[in-house]
């Protein structure tokens, strides 16, 4: 199976590198699911390899309303930063409650979706999340994608919109290479040729049939919208 979705092995390593650049004492909460636990294991391994210390870690349930008992402990461990590994809905709750508990340090987490921004409201201000190349990217392909999407759907695209869009167009490009048949698409995907995407620009599939040589970009919530943390000149 080919996919434009980044593996957690790849993504969490980059995320951990970004977090540990400035913060060495971390509290981490992660979803208690197979995805959440695996992602956390990978994040932790890389964070420790970078010399950071995880002073508190805890699983959280996606349907809990109240993460305060867990977050109180996370806060009391006096970390430099609190990291959340999960989705937009629980991320919104976590960041709201973290701020309510008076934690003023850096928060990494949530998800690059309009739902996260809407649900978290003012508490999301200053949140950093590692993302793909979309935000702050002024390449014509990207701005065209944004404009067209907003024109059709009335709101900004999220990470998932971009993934879906890219996945479909990769298939189109594969068919252009090998022919519009099952075998043709397979040949196209396996050909090792580069594909054009909105998220990563041009990339080639790695041996594990995933993109694993694409850069990611940390984004930060400023005034209720995402922007690139390190603006490209």
């Amino acid at each position: 199976m080919w996919t434009t979705s980044l593996t957690q092995e790849y993504y969490q390593k980059l995320a951990a590198d970004e977090v540990t650049k400035e913060h060495k004492k971390l509290s981490v909460v992660y979803l208690q699911s197979d995805w959440g636990k695996t992602s956390f294991d990978l994040f932790k391994a890389e964070a420790l390899a970078q010399g950071a210390e995880i002073v508190y870690e805890s699983a959280i349930q996606p349907d809990s309303e109240d993460y305060r008992p867990v977050l109180i402990k996370a806060r009391d461990a006096q970390p430099d930063a609190i990291v959340h590994i999960g989705y937009a809905a629980d991320g919104a709750r976590v960041v709201r409650q973290v701020r309510e508990l008076g934690f003023t340090g850096q928060f990494y987490g949530g998800q690059n979706t309009p739902q996260f921004l809407e649900s978290a409201g003012g508490a999301a201000e200053g949140t950093i999340i590692n993302e793909n190349l979309l935000i702050g990217n002024t390449a014509p392909a990207v701005t065209e994608f944004y404009d067209k999407f907003e024109g059709v759907y009335g709101h900004e695209p999220s990470t998932f919109s971009a993934y879906a869009y890219d996945a479909l167009y990769v298939l189109v490009q594969a068919a252009e290479i090998g022919g519009a048949t099952r075998e043709g698409v397979y040949e196209g995907l396996a050909s090792g040729q580069p594909f054009d995407t909105v998220q990563f620009g041009e990339f080639t599939f790695g041996a594990d049939r995933r993109p694993n040589d694409v850069p990611t970009v940390p984004v930060i919530v400023v005034d209720g919208a995402y922007q690139a943390l390190y603006p490209q000149s």
Binding site: S33, S64, E65, R68, P69, D76, A89, E118, S119
Partner: protein, 606 residues
């Protein structure tokens, strides 16, 4: 720690609001209104809509939500509860449970499943207590609960309608003879409780900050537990139960982590049921075993199939589906058959002995994991895993619920509901054995004597054989002396006991048999999916099994098969989305209980 305690109390306050409504209704009508939690959730979503989308001011929205919730509660009362007042309690239990399914999923369909930011009309963090930022909204919430509790108490003690409510609760017939309009009073109590629930939903929304239809309904479920812990029927108990539960949940999660949340809430509940079943403030008489079914279901005789009918159906099912339907129809058929295996023995539990299990997914999960682990880790052959899976499921499910069978039907239902959550929590946290949320991979396919069942058609036939065995066992039991004894327990428990029958033990036996076959169904699932994790066994599975049995006829094994065909096969074939499905199940259940409680596959006797 102080922060945790305060946080727990604030959360517990929300539970208390749900619980008060439940205790109020239970005290008056002897019905556990499972829809109460859904009404709280609806209140939250409506609050979001009125304030956040329509932009109405706080007070207006509060009143609007109160009115809407009262209307919904009133509708539930007149459509699902009142018409069943002369029917045994099992009917009302199922009806309110179905109503909760309808309200929850209607809410999901109307408002969408996303989480929304709840508007903050009152400040939520304008002062500091310890390390916590509390707000005016939390204070108002607490104040509301206290005022509601006092107002209710005063109303019930001194108000004319309040005393009418109490009279109806004590003895509806005597109250009617004294001129109390019993129907109106019962409807009034539903209205009142729903109004409280709806307003409670708004406070819940302010507390949670973000709301969604799904998360609100979990809070509702915990509300029942709080009401039961406090003592069903006691308003004070409901408030205390709610606060206590919130507190213990917070402390438990603080100490052990959020993964243990369900274990704490529902495990605590089962403990309370064992040690002090009538709760903190309840009275002993609320747990007296009252008969759940009576002649309610006996009004229809199951349409019996002759032996050659069975052969015909069996051969048709075995040949037609794989031959004409191929792998896709066989895959759907497998689902149908496995649910039928879960549902058929329920005719012994719900039909014969009149007990409702709201958590059948629990023994299914136990059987699935047991079988998978035995085959994976100990290299046992598939058949051994299958049978042992069933046995282990029966033993564990029965052992955990053992002390509770002496209580009345409502408590059994709540206990089985709790068991569903507890089992999943244990599986999710016991990483060393079950691999928790990571899941078990590479579970071997079913194989008997070297032959491996790999294709859909082969697996379908294997499952069909298992279903045949299940049907055989259940029908033989029903026709035997044991079956008659089980029926006597359900039809008239008091008469049965005066004949010297140990009714509690027979109920346990029926449950154990149901759990055994549920475990077998679980084992079949495990070896056919080749992968297991806790998300395979959600509450929806328990709900579906129950609906199947109600639809087909609680006394009819073949009816259960038909029920599975309709409720599992049709939606798969028509590709109906899952949230609409549950809505459909709820509506079907209410319709069946109202108009044809004996089920589809029965003949009404004069």
């Amino acid at each position: 720690m102080i922060d945790t305690i305060i946080s727990g109390l604030v959360h517990g306050n929300v539970y208390a609001l749900v619980a008060v409504g439940i205790s109020l209704i239970f005290g008056v009508t002897n019905v556990v209104n499972f829809a109460q939690g859904s009404i709280v959730g609806l209140g939250a979503m409506l609050g979001w809509w009125f304030m956040g989308v329509l932009g109405w001011p706080w007070l207006l929205s509060l009143i609007a939500v109160a009115i809407t919730a009262s209307v919904v509660g009133y509708l539930i009362s007149i459509s699902a509860v009142r018409p069943l007042v002369s029917a045994p309690p099992i009917a009302a239990l199922l009806a309110t449970f179905a109503a909760s399914m309808v309200v929850d999923n209607l809410s999901q369909v109307v408002f969408g499943a996303q989480t929304r930011a709840f508007p903050e009309p009152l400040a939520t963090d304008n002062f500091q207590v310890g390390g916590l930022r509390l707000g005016t909204s939390d204070l108002v919430s607490f104040a509301f609960t206290i005022i509601a509790m006092i107002a209710l108490w005063a109303f019930l003690k001194f108000g004319r309608n309040g005393r009418a409510i109490r009279a109806t609760a004590a003895d509806p017939d005597a109250a009617a003879q004294m001129g109390v309009p019993v129907t109106r009073v019962q409807n009034l109590s539903f209205l009142l409780a729903s109004m409280l629930g709806g307003v409670g939903g708004i406070f819940y929304g302010m507390f949670a900050g973000v709301v969604s239809p799904v998360s609100a309904s979990f809070t509702g479920t915990v509300g029942f537990i709080a009401a039961a812990v406090g003592g069903l029927g006691s308003i004070t108990g409901a408030v205390v139960g709610g606060l206590l539960l919130g507190l213990l949940e917070a402390i438990g999660v603080f100490t052990f982590g959020d993964g243990f949340r369900d274990l704490f809430i529902f495990g605590l509940f089962i403990l309370v049921l064992v040690l002090r079943p009538y709760g903190l403030f309840g009275s002993r008489k609320t747990v007296a075993t009252e008969p759940m079914t009576g002649t309610f279901l006996g009004a229809g005789r199951p349409i019996e199939l002759r032996w050659w009918h069975w052969w015909l159906v069996g051969i048709l099912a075995a040949v037609a589906i794989p031959l004409f339907g191929g792998p896709v129809a066989s895959a759907v058929g497998t689902q149908v058959v496995i649910y039928a295996i879960m549902a058929v023995p329920m005719t012994l539990l719900a039909g014969s002995t009149g007990q409702v299990s709201l958590g059948q997914a629990a023994p299914v999960a136990i059987g699935a994991y047991a079988s998978a682990l035995l085959v994976l880790r100990l290299d046992l052959p598939f058949l051994a895993g299958l049978v042992l899976g069933g046995l282990i499921a029966a033993i564990i499910a029965t052992a955990v619920t053992l002390p509770i069978w002496r209580l009345g039907g409502h408590y059994i239902s709540l206990a089985t509901l709790a068991l569903g959550y507890v089992v999943l929590a244990v599986i999710r946290n016991w990483d060393s054995v079950t691999q928790g949320a990571y899941g078990l991979t590479g579970i071997p396919a079913p194989s008997i004597g070297g032959f491996v069942f790999l294709t859909s058609e082969q697996r379908y036939l294997l499952d069909l054989v298992m279903l045949a065995i299940t049907l055989l066992v259940v029908i033989v039991i029903r026709k035997s002396h044991l079956g008659t004894v089980l029926s006597s327990v359900g039809s008239d428990e008091v008469a049965a006991r005066s004949l010297g029958i140990y009714t509690r033990d027979y109920k346990i036996m029926a449950y154990a048999i149901t759990a055994f076959f549920a475990g077998i169904a679980g084992s079949l699932l495990a070896h056919q999916y080749n992968y297991l994790d806790p998300t395979v066994f959600p509450i929806q599975m328990s709900v579906l099994v129950l609906t199947i049995v109600v639809l087909g006829g609680m006394n009819s094994p073949f009816g259960a098969v038909i029920g599975a065909l309709v409720l599992v096969g049709l939606p798969e074939a028509l590709r109906i989305a899952s949230d609409v499905r549950i809505l459909l199940y709820g509506v079907i259940m209410i319709a069946m209980i109202r108009f044809r409680p004996q089920g589809l596959w029965t003949r009404t006797t004069a």
